[in-house]
């Protein structure tokens, strides 16, 4: 009998939570009394954020809260915009040593046709852990080969891939051929081989241009023959048109110079990724106006001569030279550590506020979504993080996270497993 009551009770609870969950989707929510750090605009020591449905309706000190609004008490907490990971494998990788769980790498060297967002696994165990640490959106990227494919920006919630995608494609990913040394290792490809690959890359873009021209001409003139269908060239269109940026992975100073030249000659939009020796050519990158996304800072310096702290001080050097910078986790299982890469750079010369921008508004701008995210501003998606301190701090506890106005649950693999085994402590010894 007792058992039945329990079951009944839990069904009721479930139903209640479902209804409650639905009601959350609509109407107003007001976060009251929090110290608001909108990132764009002045900080508000005690203020209110009013959310209507998915969007931020208002941010400020004296906001009129509608009577119907659900109130979230933010007293003593800090409100930040949700963080954006600018390069990661979330939802594309579960267990890194098990190929069956890896979906961000294709065979072959030229794969402009593949789209990371078409391999998303909404159930990935890494997503709840990541968003519980205040990261609400992520650029999920393909990797490998010369042209790796197209990345997409996702929100860290959703039942289906479709519900997760914010924008796709965001960039076409290219591994720039290395002309010099990288890492403690000697160069892997001889110089000649590398410049040959740069030529090959240019060749692809050129072919894409001709392909497009011929197609357009044939469309206007029925007598002209249509070029034969070419999958790769089809998908390089937006790149040569300047619609889709190339995100170029490049590290050594020599290579960065070559990549800048390449970008300028090809007249394409570009984002640089990696850039471990960026500090050596900071002025040139700034002059070229190409934004930079850093990979994980948890790595050894590229060479002894660069100094033990080369990776740590690199972001400050680029930012001070005037380069727009963003951080990334370059991971899936450790995507939650995004804020600490930014903090590490702050420990080595980057201003704390710049570090914060580099995980919020800068990535939004670099990835072309600054109109909908990256700061706490009216009209943007209500991606909000409440924390008991600085969100880049390791000791800070994240209290609540809202994605598109909806509060997310903090349960994750961490909590589920711990909860499962906690009762063992009470077991008779």
């Amino acid at each position: 009998m007792k058992k039945h009551i329990l079951i009944l009770f839990s069904i009721l609870l479930l139903a209640a939570s479902l209804i409650y969950g639905q009601s959350q989707n609509e109407g107003y929510t007001a976060i009251k009394g929090a110290h608001i750090i909108p990132v764009v605009g002045e900080d508000i020591p005690v203020g209110t954020i009013l959310i209507k449905d998915k969007l931020i309706e208002a941010v400020g000190k004296d906001i009129v809260i509608p009577a119907s609004a659900r109130i979230v008490d933010g007293t003593g907490l800090y409100a930040y915009p949700g963080m954006i990971d600018s390069f990661c494998f979330l939802s594309l990788s579960e267990i890194s040593s098990i190929p069956a769980t890896i979906d961000y790498r294709e065979t072959g060297r030229i794969n402009p046709q593949v789209r990371s967002v078409e391999a998303l696994r909404p159930d990935s165990m890494h997503i709840p852990i990541t968003r519980s640490n205040g990261i609400t959106a992520a650029l999920v990227v393909p990797s490998g080969g010369l042209i790796a494919g197209q990345s997409g920006l996702i929100r860290l919630t959703g039942w289906t891939p479709g519900e997760m995608v914010i924008k796709s494609p965001v960039a076409m990913h290219v591994e720039f051929p290395s002309l010099g040394r990288r890492g403690f290792q000697r160069e892997q490809e001889p110089r000649e081989e590398a410049s040959k690959q740069v030529i090959e890359l240019k060749d692809w873009l050129n072919k894409a241009r001709f392909y497009q021209k011929r197609k357009q001409a044939a469309a206007k003139n029925m007598l002209l023959q249509m070029p034969e269908f070419d999958e790769k060239l089809e998908f390089l269109h937006p790149v040569v048109n300047g619609e889709l940026p190339l995100m170029i992975s490049v590290h050594a100073d020599k290579d960065i110079r070559a990549a800048i030249k390449f970008v300028q000659e090809e007249k394409i939009k570009a984002i640089f990724f990696g850039m471990t020796q960026g500090w050596k050519v900071a002025e040139e990158i700034a002059k070229a106006g190409i934004p930079v996304v850093f990979g994980s800072l948890y790595d050894m310096p590229p060479s002894w001569e660069d100094g033990y702290d080369a990776l740590y001080r690199n972001p400050a050097a680029l930012q001070k030279a005037g380069v727009k910078i963003a951080f990334s986790s370059q991971s899936a299982s450790l995507a939650k550590d995004l804020p600490y890469h930014a903090a590490k750079a702050a420990a080595f010369g980057l201003e704390k506020r710049e570090a914060l921008k580099a995980v919020t508004i800068n990535p939004a701008e670099i990835l072309g979504v600054a109109d909908i995210m990256g700061s706490l501003e009216k009209g943007k998606l209500a991606n909000i993080v409440l924390a008991n301190g600085d969100i880049l701090e390791l000791r800070t506890t994240i209290s609540r996270v809202f994605i598109d106005g909806q509060e997310i649950d903090f349960s994750s693999r961490y909590t589920e497993l711990l909860d499962k085994y906690k009762p063992r402590l009470k077991q008779k010894k």
Binding site: P190, E192, E193, S195, I199, W304, E305
Partner: protein
């Protein structure tokens, strides 16, 4: 007259290499070197001297006038020349042709039963059995005054026993001065077998020494008892080891870096071994430890910092600086610390480099007379042959070099060489250094075929005059070319390769044409054929 005789003699030997029983002494004349300055090493110099050579030995030596010229002597007028004892390189891998290794059959799946209970060490072949002297190398060594070398196999942990040879011709047996000289041990590892790591090597060495001692004591007991005891099972590997572990015959440890030296010293102390240390271009860094219980040191003139050295890890510039400024001062530091050492050419194959590096050591502060001792009497003492080699004295082997100028001076040339009393005229270098006939600079696609399998390589060559540099790139990594020379169409270079963390030197020698290249890579593990074709330049 003398020249023709010697020429005939060489021809004779060339024809009859297969019949090495013929001894040179039968036809070797008696020589009288007159009016030369004599630097006997270990005795006073003689300004106007005379040396009588008979039957391969120094019959007499001294001031001209006091010693009479024998009637049957060929007189060699040596006015303006200086006689030195022939130089001894106390550790080399010259002339060693390692046996072709059989490709291991595809291994079967290991099971619990198939697992060996104790690892088995590989037994190295004696250097004598691998010796294949080469005329051109001998001539090249004569040209820099080397008349005696210790030849040892280069690879393997237990690298077999070395042999001391006089460079007196090309037949093996007449060359041998002493065999075996010492057991050679390298801190090497096995590929895909035990021990695959340095700590495994140390464990294997210890276990082998223990086993040898145990084997010997078991055998002794068995021999004492005569009956009533099961005989110990015959073990050829341990048989080889017993003289060194039990009877304390000398073991030469090749030490690539300071830690290797300390490892060798530890093993010596643990097992009371009689050791010599070779390589040791970082000996100065452990001078304190070496001073505690001195050990004969065979210091290599290879100044390249070992891979483990911090100088190698801090970038190319630091590495070059160390090779130029720091490592050449090793000998000087040892000499100041009062540690006895011989100098060797170990690790160097190009005679020009050997000579250049002797000068670099002297330039770094090693007194020239100490350098000379380190090339003559000291190695002779260390190798236990100082009664017959290492200085110019009556009754010693007539290994003599005649130079115009001080031996290690840059402009000095060695004009005449006597080995075992056999006269070798030294041809001028000019004959050898032909200008490069072609330009090999560019990219080459190469395939290397060896008993171990095939390897595709990309070669990037640069050329400046007859000097060739560049690198080889393959799936195994990038290997830099060192000491490359193109003389006519003959291309020679050495490669420093790092394979699975181990550094080894490989020698290439072959011929180059405009668009093709072929030759042999000789390594410590065997020879491989290399064929390459030029990759046409892509026009951008």
């Amino acid at each position: 007259m003398a020249k023709t005789i010697v020429k005939n003699l060489i021809f004779f030997i060339l024809v009859l290499v297969i019949a090495p029983a013929l001894v040179q002494a039968d036809v070797s004349p008696t020589y009288a070197l007159v009016n030369c300055r004599i630097v006997p090493v270990g005795g006073p110099q003689v300004e106007k001297g005379i040396i009588i050579i008979r039957d391969g030995l120094i019959e007499s030596i001294g001031t001209i006038g006091i010693i009479k010229i024998p009637e049957d002597a060929e007189v060699i007028e040596a006015e303006g020349l200086t006689a030195y004892p022939g130089l001894i390189s106390a550790h080399t891998n010259f002339f060693i042709e390692p046996p072709k290794e059989e490709r291991p059959a595809a291994e079967a799946l290991q099971t619990a039963e198939s697992q060996p209970e104790k690892p088995v060490a590989k037994r190295g072949s004696p250097a004598f059995s691998l010796l294949k002297p080469k005329k051109t190398t001998i001539e090249a060594l004569h040209r820099i005054g080397i008349t005696t070398i210790l030849a040892a196999a280069g690879s393997g942990i237990f690298a077999g026993q070395s042999v001391l040879i006089n460079l007196n011709g090309e037949a093996v047996e007449p060359m041998v001065v002493k065999n075996p000289v010492a057991l050679h041990i390298n801190f090497a590892t096995e590929r895909g077998a035990y021990p695959s790591s340095l700590m495994g090597t140390m464990a294997l060495l210890r276990q082998s020494f223990l086993d040898a001692a145990y084997y010997a004591s078991h055998r002794t007991r068995f021999e004492q008892l005569g009956r009533g005891m099961k005989r110990p099972e015959y073990n050829p590997f341990l048989e080889d080891l017993v003289p060194y572990v039990v009877d304390k015959k000398p073991i030469i440890f090749t030490c690539a870096n300071q830690e290797d030296i300390k490892r060798a010293l530890r093993l010596r102390d643990e097992f009371k071994l009689n050791i010599l240390i070779s390589g040791a271009n970082e000996a100065w860094r452990v001078a304190d430890a070496l001073r505690k219980t001195p050990v004969p040191l065979f210091i290599s003139l290879d100044f390249r910092p070992p891979m483990s050295s911090e100088y190698s890890q801090k970038g190319e510039e630091e590495k070059r600086r160390a090779e130029k400024d720091i490592y050449p001062a090793n000998a000087k530091a040892l000499s100041q610390a009062g540690l006895p050492f011989a100098l060797t050419s170990f690790g160097l194959s190009d005679p020009a480099t050997i000579q250049k590096n002797i000068r670099a050591a002297i330039y770094a502060g090693l007194p020239a007379d100490e350098a000379l001792k380190a090339w003559t009497i000291t190695p002779a003492k260390f190798l236990g042959v100082d009664s017959i080699l290492g200085s110019l004295e009556r009754g010693k082997i007539a290994n003599i070099i005649l130079t115009r100028g001080e031996i290690f001076d840059e402009k000095t040339e060695i004009e005449k060489v006597f080995v075992d009393g056999v006269f070798f005229p030294v041809e001028k270098k000019a004959a050898e250094a032909q200008p490069a006939a072609i330009n090999v600079a560019g990219t080459w696609k190469a395939a290397v075929r060896s008993p171990m399998g095939e390897l595709d390589l990309t070669m990037e060559l640069e050329q400046e005059g007859s000097k060739v540099s560049g690198a080889l790139t393959s799936a195994m990594g990038r290997w830099e070319i060192r000491e490359g020379t193109l003389s006519g169409s003959n291309l020679v270079f050495s490669i420093e390769a790092t394979i699975m963390g181990q550094t080894m030197t490989m020698e290439f020698s072959g011929t180059a044409e405009k668009d093709s290249l072929e030759g042999t890579i000789s390594t410590a593990m065997g020879n491989a054929e290399l064929r390459a074709s030029r990759v046409p330049k892509t026009s951008p």
